[in-house]
C-alpha cells in the first residue's frame, strides 16, 4: 500500500510534465517550438498566486471545485493501487470504488457547470453531460469485466478496445473537448473561473488525462500477466506511452459536434459492448 501511495504522489507530480510533453509534441506536429516542458506546472503555480475571485455561488462553488479535484486524486490513487495487483486479480470492492469515484468526479464537474448563472457555462454543462452519458457506462462495464479477470482472450481484447475508446473520451481532448472549447461559441464550462479556482480546474483536467492514460496502459499491460510491483512499474512506464498516443490522435483530428459525437460513440461503443456481452454469455 505504501508503495502505491509513493507511486501515486510521483504520478501526480509527473502528470503536468506529461502534459508539457504533450504540448511539445503537438507543437512539433504544428512545426513550431512550443512551450517548455514544465510549462503546465508553471501555469498551475501561477494561477495559485493570483487573487481569489469567486463567481456567483460563493463558497459552495469553491467547495465543489476543490472536492472534484480531491476525488480525482483519490480515484487515480486507487487506480495505481489496482495496478500494483494487476488488472485480472483485482478485488471487486476496489474496482467498484474506482468507478464510483470517477463518476462522482464527472457529476461534480457537471454540477459546477450548470449551477452558474452564465448561459455559456450551462450549455457547456449540458453538452458535457450528454457526452459523458455516452461514454461512462461503457467505461464501467469494460473495466469491471477486465477487473474480474474472467473471459477469453478475445473477449478481453474487445473489452480493452471499449475501455480505450471510452477512456479517451473522458480525457477531454479533441475530438471530444466540446464542453470547454470556446471557439464553439456557446461552450465554456470554465468561463467563470479565474485565479486559484481555475488552477484547481486545470489540475483536474490534467489528472483526468492521467487517469485516461493509466487506464489504457493498465488494460494493455495486463495482457502480459504481471502482478505486484512489476505490474505497477509496467503501468508507470506504459502510461507516458499511451499519453503520447492520445496526443498524436488528438492533434490529427478535428473537434466533433455534440450530436455527431454522441451518435458515433453510442453506435460504436454499444455494438462493441453488445459483442462483448454476447461473447461472454456464450462462454467464448
Amino acid at each position: 500500500m505504501l508503495y502505491s501511495i509513493a507511486v501515486a504522489i510521483l504520478s501526480l507530480a509527473l502528470a503536468p510534465v506529461y502534459d508539457g510533453l504533450e504540448r511539445k509534441i503537438r507543437a512539433a506536429i504544428h512545426t513550431r517550438i512550443g512551450p517548455p516542458i514544465l510549462q503546465t506546472w508553471y501555469d498551475i503555480l501561477k494561477l495559485f498566486t493570483k487573487e481569489i475571485v469567486v463567481p456567483v455561488g460563493g463558497i459552495w462553488y469553491t467547495l465543489v471545485t476543490a472536492l472534484e479535484l480531491l476525488t480525482l486524486i483519490a480515484s487515480s490513487t486507487i487506480l495505481l493501487h489496482i495496478s500494483s495487483y494487476g488488472l485480472g486479480k483485482t478485488a471487486l470492492l476496489e474496482a467498484v470504488t474506482f468507478i464510483v469515484l470517477t463518476s462522482i468526479v464527472t457529476t461534480l464537474a457537471i454540477v459546477r457547470a450548470v449551477s452558474q448563472n452564465n448561459v455559456f457555462s450551462i450549455v457547456g454543462g449540458f453538452r458535457e453531460f450528454s457526452l459523458m452519458l455516452s461514454a461512462e457506462p461503457f467505461l464501467a462495464l469494460s473495466f469491471l469485466l477486465l477487473a474480474s479477470g474472467a473471459g477469453s482472450l478475445a473477449s478481453k481484447s474487445i473489452a480493452t478496445a471499449v475501455l480505450a475508446i471510452s477512456s479517451y473520451v473522458i480525457s477531454g481532448r479533441v475530438p471530444y473537448d466540446i464542453a470547454e472549447a470556446e471557439p464553439e461559441l456557446a461552450s465554456g464550462v470554465n468561463i467563470e473561473l479565474a485565479g486559484p479556482l481555475l488552477g484547481l480546474a486545470t489540475t483536474s483536467s490534467v489528472l483526468k488525462k492521467l487517469v485516461s492514460a493509466t487506464l489504457t496502459a493498465l488494460a494493455l499491460t495486463s495482457f502480459v500477466g504481471l502482478s505486484g510491483f512489476s505490474s505497477l512499474m509496467a503501468v508507470v512506464i506504459a502510461t507516458p506511452i499511451t499519453w503520447v498516443t492520445h496526443t498524436i490522435v488528438s492533434t490529427i483530428l478535428g473537434r466533433s459536434r455534440v450530436d455527431l459525437a454522441i451518435r458515433f460513440l453510442y453506435v460504436s461503443l454499444f455494438s462493441l459492448s453488445l459483442t462483448l456481452v454476447l461473447s461472454f454469455g456464450l462462454g467464448l
Binding site: 504544428h30 464553439e184 483530428l253 478535428g254 459536434r257 455527431l260
Partner: protein, 537 residues
Amino acid sequence: MKNESVLSNTVKVLEGLGAVVEEVKDSEVYLRATRESVRAVAKALYSSGAYLRTCAGVDERELSGMLAVYYIFGLDEQGVDVVLRVLVPEGDPWSASIVPDVPAADWCELEVRDLLGIDFRGRLTKRLVLPEDWPDGVYPLRKEFKYDEKPSRVLREELPEEAGVPVGPYHPALHEPEYFELYVEGEKVVDIAYRGFHVHRGIEKLAESQRFTYKQVPFLAERICGICGFVHSSCYVMAVEKAAGIEVPERAEFIRSIVLEVERLHSHLLWLGVAAHLLGYDAGFMHAWRIREQVMVLAEYLTGSRKTYGINLIGGVRKDINTEKIDRVLKTITDLRKEFTELVKAMLAVPQIKSRASGTGVLTKAEARALSVVGPVARASGLYRDVRKDYPYLAYRRVSFKVPLYTEGDNLARLLVRVDEVFESIEIIKQLIDVLPDGSIMVEEYDIPPGRRAVAAIEAPRGEDVHFVITGVGRPYRWRVRAPTYQNIPALRAMLRGNPLADAPLTIASIDPCFSCTDRAIVLDVKSGRMGVIRLK
C-alpha cells in the same frame, strides 16, 4: 459595352416608367428618377437581371441644391453599371423605399437615413449605424458637420435584457467586434439579431475633410481593412481615374493585378487556417499560416511592406517589378501550389471537418439572389458572379481563368470555392507575369476636374468591393465604400436559422466576415457594446 441592344431596351423600359437619362459613359449609365417613381424603376431594373451593388446618400446641396440618393445597380451580363439618382429637397427629406422589391437595399437605405436624415417610406426603419446615444437631428454626412465634431450624448431608456445567447462583441471565437444575439431552443437556433458598426472610424467623412487630399486618400483607403487593404486603395484610385479620365499605363495595371492576386492568396490561406481552428483542427491552422508566411514575405519583397503595401497612387503605382522580383514570385507560387495541395488533401481527410462542414449553413440560390450576395458566398450557392469576369478591370482582360461554381450552398461549398480560387490565382499570376508589358508605371501629370462621378468595383477575396466617387476640389466630394461583408452579413440570418447552435461559429466564419471593412462610415466613439448600458462620460 457588350450587347448594346439589350441595354437600350432596358433603358427604354425605365424611361417609360419615369426615369430620365442623365449621362452615358463607357460602362456606366446615369438615370434620374423621382422619389415617387423610383420604386417602380428599381423593380423593373431588378427583374431584368440587375443586382443591387449599393446605394449612397450624398449631400449635394453645394452642387444641385438638394440631397441625393444614388442606387447603384449592376447588369452583370452587359458589364454595365446603372446608377439611379433620386433628388430629395432638404426641407422635406423623404423618398420611397425600394426594399419591398429589392431586399438587398435594406442596410444601405438605413445607413442613408442615419447619416443624412432622408426618411424612407414603405418599409420598417430603425437605427443601424449610429449608436443609441447619438442625438436626433444631427446627421454626420451633411456638409455642415465637421469630421471631428463630437455632439453631446443623449441618454435613452435602458434596453431590455434580451433572452438569447449573446455572442460578442468580445468573444474568443470572433476576431473583430460584432454582436450576434442567437435565440435558441435547446441546441437549435431559431432566430438571430445582429448589431454591428462598433468600429466606425469615419473614413468616408475624413476623406472629404480639409485634412486629406486626393494624393493621401489611397493610404487611408488601405487601412480600411487589414486583409484586403490593397483592394480598397486600388478601387479608390480606379474610381478617381475613371471619373477624371486619367489613362493609367498598362504596366501599372499589371502590377496592380499581380499584387491583388497575391493579396487574394494570403487572404484565402488566412481564412482556411481560421476555419480549421474553429473546427478544432489547430494543425490545419498552423500549417495554413506557415504556408501563408511565404506569401507575406513575397508581398514585402514586392511592395515594401507585408500588409498596407502603400504602392497605389492616382495615376499608377510607386514600385516597379524587376527580373529578380519576377523570379521570386514564380518560385513562391510554385512552392505554394505544391504545399497547398498537400495541405488541402490532409485537411479534407479529417473526418470531423468533412462531417461538420457539409450540409451546414445552407444558403439557397433564391435567397442568395434576393440578397445580392457577393463573392465566394454567391459562387457557392450557384450564382455565377465574379467582377473580374463581369466588369473586367485592370489587366484581367488579358488573362483567362475559371470561376469556381458550386451549387450546394453549404459551408463545405464555400470552403471549396476558396480552395479552387487559390489555384486559379496562381494561374492568373503566372499569366500576368508572362505578358507583363514594358513602359512607365505612373502618369506624372494629370488633372482632376470637380463634379465628375464614377463607380469602380474590384473582386476582393471576400467578394465585390464597390467604390463610388464624386470628385471635388483637391479631395473627393463624396466617397462611398461598400465592402463585400456588408452585403453578405444579412445572408447570415437565412444560414443560421433552424440549424444547430454548434454550427454557428463555422457558418459565421464561412462568409469570411471582415468587420473592419463593414463599419467605416462616420467618426464615432467606439461603443462599449454592453446591452442596456449607456456610458456616461
